[in-house]
Amino acid sequence: MNDPFTIADTVFASRIFVGSARYPNQQVMLDALAAAGPAMVTMSIRRISLEGYAESLVDLLGGSYRILPNTAGCVTARDAILTAELAREALETNWIKLELIGDRELLYPDVEQLVHAADELVRKGFTVLPYCNEDPVACQKLADVGCAAVMPLGSLIGSGRGIANPAAIELICARSPVPVVLDAGIGTASDAAQAMELGCDAVMVDTAIAKSHDPIRMAAAMRGAVEAGRLARLAGRIPKRRFAEPSSPQLGLVGS
């Protein structure tokens, strides 16, 4: 179990956020979430279908988990802001995971629109957690407009490529005045551990769990990895050396 951390006014005992999408079925999703023990579970906001409306997913999750709505898929600040306001109305939470993308193939954030939308949402009283690029300048801008955390990507959403630019993530973590939650691109447990070792306060995972061969086992792996990575970070790793440094004593060698 890790040391708790704080975003805005809330203390979290778990350092993993998990998404609710792409599981083979609802039971697997529930079992995977139970194995991961997330601080928050994300959901999207979508138009109801013409056939009617079923409230089951929120009922299923809302009793056990804190739900964090997102503005996934939004490409304009106006749409993201409206989606956030609708999310607030639907789920009765001021918290929003702000996603504003500039490219539908890459799902890379549109930083200019993102900062503008974040600024406006903060003014409207939201607690904003923006999904952003792994750029220390963008992260600083988001913190400056009042975001409660920053969520830089490791690599493209759903790509499973891990942390493409560890140096950038490490810089963001070292400089950020707000908590850093690595979001997007985690592929397996070691990626999550690496994020924590680089200094991230938490990680966000969806596809890596939901689309793995055994989501329940992978969720447990992610939980362990986040705990291990955080412990390693707190323990303070050895530096990387250019040459070998023997571990066994040099004196008293047989035959010397």
Partner: protein, 67 residues
């Protein structure tokens, strides 16, 4: 009158948001639903008063799985 509901042009008889939901068989007590008219959220308490007029754009949304 013609309105846009969730991006689709439709002919509706309803003159209020509450009436629109009723016409669609949506229980007005349903939880986790949110509605906006012309880009402004209409809160649940206002559904029966919120008037609809021709050309309005209505969004009716709910939470769904997402990452």
């Amino acid at each position: 009158m013609r309105l846009k509901i969730n991006g689709v042009d439709e002919e509706v008889a309803a003159t209020t948001v509450a009436q629109l939901l009723a016409d669609r068989g949506i229980n007005p007590a349903v939880r986790f639903l949110a509605i906006a008219v012309n880009g402004a959220v209409v809160r649940r308490a206002e559904w029966s008063q919120a008037a609809l007029k021709a050309g309005d754009a209505v969004e009716i949304v709910r939470p769904l799985q997402g990452g």
